[in-house]
């Protein structure tokens, strides 16, 4: 193993196909037109000295180090800003250039500290490298005089000197080391798109400044790390590097946070992780990252992490630490006796969307092959199950149709029920980049998300619909397109079922679906909706990106179908730049669905009722598979309350915090006799558990994650599991304790089994992933290199199916008792239930859930910003602090659900999507009133949680 050094070509690649040939130092090189001389030289293997250039951002031409001579041209142009031309003859090293570069370097170093030996960037400093490259031997100007380096000039304080800014928890800004190359400023603009940094002052006064001379933490900085990565010196440095030192080897792996699935280099020193650096060859993130993946990995070593198995007979006892053998035999005996007493269907599993494909596959195999039932479900139930159902019906398969690169070819984007800059930040940055290039944006969301108006990006249309009216709005968009004749008839005739389309057209043309008719209950101005529909239908490549604001409704599946209708209607399927793109919540939620986590389908989305599919697994596993669908998560909890479901193995999920109607979840868990939680921490669900099996982090195991673009990315082990076993090994131990005879010794063997049984994974092997870096399924003989875009020549199901989408108002309605509508979402710095991010310094950005409320609603209730308020629905009540903002419309309130103390899901109800039982998180009728502090429930809950987390430690063996 070694430290992976990615080549920095200095300027971004040119996308043109036309090539030109030039000569650099006598070597001929052929590159695309538009390439810089600097990049062309690097392609030829000749590195021109540079400081302000790096290939993540556009050329700037400020440092004057990359000068070259070009035959027939006067002067010494900078190679980063000079495009290549056919027949150009370039010299990168001449007497003149040597002298110039050394002179420039001498000036740089005259205002730079000479503490290289004790500097955190020692060994990883481009300034140091360039000083060496140009042969700098002397600084004739000395180090006295005007400078930014010394705290004092003689007996006077040096007013140019600025102290180090250590306000950001993850990196420091040391102005004394800054050479003002502005790479950080440009990375913040061009890569991240936040524009938090600028250069203040002029000439010798120039300094990098977050915002208006603020510190990093108080500025708009979102801590994505792009500036730190871009910095050629120690000016911006990870605190972990300052503390530990430079890494010595690195391993490419995949982030375990959101569904974007960014590739990172885990840079290591021995088994100690020094830093995570986004990998430029990562096809999802293209070298970019967000604060979570880049920095928030400290939870892996957090003191709360449980490393030993624990058991207890009843949940009011303290936990007892035991050996793995004891824990597993205790568990296996309990599960077996439950099946004996209550039947084989009395137990089940929940697979994890945070674990690997291989681990998920084994957990569903455990229930199907060892427990002998289909009681398996996963957190996709509560997020994207309607995507599976809706897209399955319309297109024939249930995944996003594009890769993330596709957005670079998009002309009009609809973002509906998603907040990419918070929930999927790296995709959000890629989207913003395209919008700055001129693509148009339509946002459909009850809340004014950041994308509606953010530096250099503004939505053409924001349709602030009332929560729960998605179907009406999407159908009204189709109404305008059909009645105004803006549909792509050629596409529909060729690719879709024409008869079904005509039925659909008749349905959608009805006046009652017009924006004028729906405005009364959607709250979306008709004129704005018409303009948005026209823009989407006529603006070129149209792509729809959506999130849980679409799916988590009573009509979630119907909205997904409406989205599919809209894409087909406008011919926006089957090529780059278009498509239907569900933004998946968790790192491997796509994979957990692919791996057969749902109770009705085996891996590869094939229903358990199909004998030919069961036969594949039955012959391989030597068992009989139940042809009946199993219980979904909400059904499991109902059955538990009814007394017919008694035991559950939950891998890497915290259903008590994440699932709706907490009281009901708690009642279900409390009714079970054996709850097994397999996790990193004693999460909220573990308060009701009888067995705790310690889990391993993504840094501690091999496997694969599949991201929202169907990309199968490798997860690579960089350190030994602190708990002793990778999660797939724990599941295997449990299966074997139950009498199975599994003998996997590496996750690659599980992937072999997946490939052998699942057609869309047929050609996936670890060798292929090693060779290609990643592949997008389907990956089989028909698509040996995977499939970046789906439905290219035809839909998976044959003809695309238009489905009538009648709007039905949810039963969850406002009334005198509960006059406001609550909707929920995420924030950038926290992730899901917060189990990981709350255990990192990310909490400095968000240490509590707040209730966003419109000033009008707040005033009526006498609520001031920051006041504690009581938030009540028919399901329950909680309290949290108010945040008064006009981001939400009057009548709508909003909160996040990252903190267990808030328990936002005490409020949400048991209403769910008609097709999939996906809970209706996004619409709850509530009342908000002033409050003095925590509710009785919160106080009781905290006490109960404290009691439930007591541990009796095992005596150390003599």
């Amino acid at each position: 193993m070694r430290l992976i050094q990615e080549t920095d070509f200095g300027t971004p690649a040119s996308r043109t196909e036309k090539t030109v040939t030039l000569t650099v130092d006598g070597f001929e090189v052929t590159v695309p037109e538009g390439t810089s001389v600097m990049r062309a030289s690097m392609e030829a293997g000749i590195q021109i000295p540079k400081l302000c250039a790096t290939d993540m951002v556009d050329a700037f031409g400020s440092c004057r180090m990359c000068l070259v001579e070009i035959e027939g041209r006067r002067g010494t142009p900078s190679s980063c800003t000079t495009p290549v031309a056919d027949g150009m003859v370039v010299h990168t090293q001449t007497e003149q250039l040597k002298g110039l570069r050394r002179g420039v370097m001498e000036l740089y170093i005259s205002d730079h500290p000479l503490d290289c030996l004790t500097c955190a960037a020692n060994g990883d400093c481009e300034l140091q490298d360039m000083a060496g490259a140009v042969g700098l031997r002397d600084v004739r100007y000395g180090y006295e005089g005007d400078n930014h380096v010394q705290t004092r000039n003689g007996d006077q304080p040096n007013m140019r000197w600025m102290p180090k800014d250590e306000s950001n928890p993850y990196f420091t800004y040391d102005p004394s080391k800054c050479i003002v190359c502005s790479r950080c400023v440009r990375a913040c603009e061009e890569v991240q798109g936040t524009f938090a940094l600028t250069i203040e002052g002029r000439g010798f006064d120039s300094r990098v400044s977050p915002g208006m001379h603020e510190d990093f933490l108080s500025s708009e900085c979102v801590s994505c790390g792009a500036c730190v990565q871009a910095c050629p010196t120690a000016t911006l440095t990870e605190k972990s590097v300052i503390e530990i030192g430079q890494p010595e080897h690195s391993v490419v792996t995949t982030c375990a946070y959101c569904g974007v699935g960014c590739s990172f280099k885990a840079e290591m020193r021995g088994e100690e992780l020094v830093r995570m650096v986004p990998y430029k060859d990562g096809k999802a993130n293209r070298g970019h990252s967000c604060v979570k993946g880049r920095f928030a990995w400290g939870y892996a070593n957090h003191k709360d992490r449980i490393l030993n198995p624990m058991i207890r007979e009843t949940i009011d006892e303290p936990w007892r630490e035991v050996s793995w053998e004891e824990a597993l035999s205790f568990t296996a005996n309990k599960l077996k006796s439950l099946q004996k007493d209550y039947g084989k269907n009395s137990i089940g599993v929940i697979t994890s969307s945070r674990c690997t494909n291989e681990e998920t596959f084994l957990v569903q195999k455990l229930t199907r092959a060892v427990f002998g039932n289909n009681n398996t479900d996963t957190c996709a139930r509560v997020c994207h199950s309607p995507t599976g159902y809706g897209l399955g019906q319309a297109f024939g398969t249930s995944a996003g149709t594009q890769d993330f690169d596709s957005v670079e070819h998009t002309d009009v984007v609809i973002v509906v029920g998603a907040n990419p800059t918070d929930g999927h930040p790296v995709f959000g940055s890629r989207l913003k980049k395209r919008l700055r290039e001129g693509a148009k944006l339509i946002v459909i969301d009850p809340r004014r998300i950041d994308l509606v108006r953010t530096p250099h990006v503004a939505a053409s249309h924001h349709l602030p619909l009332k929560p729960g009216t998605n179907v009406a709005v999407m159908t009204a968009l189709s109404h305008v397109i059909v009645t105004e004749g803006l549909m792509d008839e050629a596409f529909i005739r060729e690719r879709c079922d024409w008869d079904e389309f005509q039925d659909y057209a008749e349905f959608v043309s009805d006046e009652k679906h017009s924006p004028e008719a729906t405005e009364a209950y959607t709250g979306v101005p008709a004129g704005e909706l018409r303009a948005a529909a026209r823009l989407f239908a006529t603006g070129g490549n149209g792509a729809i990106y959506y999130g849980l604001g679409v799916t988590e409704h009573s009509q979630g599946s119907t909205t997904v179908m409406a989205i599919a209708n809209l894409a087909m209607l406008t011919g926006n399927i089957g090529r780059p730049g278009v498509g239907v793109n569900p933004l998946r919540g968790q790192n491997n939620v796509q994979g957990s669905c692919d791996m057969g986590s749902f109770p009705h389908e085996l891996p590869g989305y094939r229903h358990v009722k199909l004998p030919e599919v069961r036969e594949i697994f039955e012959s391989l596993w030597g068992v009989e598979i139940d042809p009946e669908p199993g219980l979904r998560i909400p059904n499991m909890l109902d059955a538990a309350v009814d007394g017919t479901f008694k035991g559950i193995y939950i891998q890497g999920e915290d259903i008590l915090q994440s699932d709706p109607d907490t009281h009901h979840v708690a009642a279900g868990l409390a009714a079970m006799e054996c709850v097994i939680v397999h996790d990193l921490f004693l999460n909220e669900t573990a308060n009701y558990a009888h067995v705790f099996l310690p889990g391993s982090t993504f840094l501690e195991k091999d496997g694969t994650f599949t991201n929202a673009e169907r990309r199968i990315n490798r997860v690579r082990k960089v350190m030994s599991p602190k708990n002793g076993y990778a999660d797939w090994e724990v599941t295997q131990l449990l299966a074997n304790a139950m009498g199975a005879n599994w003998t996997y010794t590496h996750p690659s063997q599980v992937m072999e089994e997946i490939a052998a049984t699942t057609p869309s994974f047929a050609n996936v092997t670890y060798d292929l992933l090693e060779e290609k870096g990643s592949v997008q399924w389907p990956c089989n003989d028909a698509n040996p290199e995977g499939s970046p875009v789906m439905h290219v020549d035809g839909f998976v199901r044959g003809k695309g199916k238009f489905i009538v989408t009648e709007y039905v108002a949810t039963d969850e309605r406002t009334g005198p008792r509960f006059p406001l509508l609550l909707t929920t979402g995420r924030i950038l710095s926290q992730y899901n239930v917060g189990a990981q991010t709350r255990r990192t310094p990310n909490s400095v950005w968000h240490d509590e859930d707040r209730l966003e409320i419109h000033p009008h609603d707040a005033e009526q209730r006498g609520i001031r910003d920051g006041d504690y308020v009581r938030l009540a629905s028919r399901a329950g009540e909680t309290s949290l602090r108010a945040l008064i903002t006009d981001r939400v419309a009057p009548g709508v309130v909003y909160t996040t659900f990252h903190h267990p103390g808030t328990q936002a899901n005490v409020i949400t109800t048991d209403y769910s999507d008609w097709a999939t039982n996906c809970p209706e998180y996004k619409v709850t009728a509530v009342q908000v009133t002033p409050s003095n502090g925590p509710t009785e429930w919160q106080v009781e809950y905290e006490e109960q949680a404290k009691q439930a987390r007591r541990i009796v430690h095992a005596e150390p063996a003599e």
Partner: protein
């Protein structure tokens, strides 16, 4: 699960299929329940039918004969 909740879930399915031609709608409701409802839930639905099907949507009532009987016990 409470009978009210089961009735609500069944009726939600019926509501979606109401926009289909009638026979297709009946078949759609039955298929959906057959594909996604675990035997315990179907058994409870048959109990409701046996008690007269109070509160159930007409489409759900009509789908009765197309819903797969429950053979195994929980």
């Amino acid at each position: 699960m409470s009978p009210d909740k089961l009735v609500r879930m069944a009726n939600q399915i019926a509501t979606f299929f109401r926009s289909k031609p009638h026979d297709e709608g009946v078949a759609g409701v039955a298929d959906h329940i057959n594909n996604f409802w675990e035997p315990r839930m179907r058994a409870q639905l048959f109990d409701l039918y046996a008690q007269g099907g109070e509160g159930l949507d007409a489409l759900v009532i009509e789908a009765r004969d197309k819903i797969r009987p429950v053979t195994q016990s929980a």
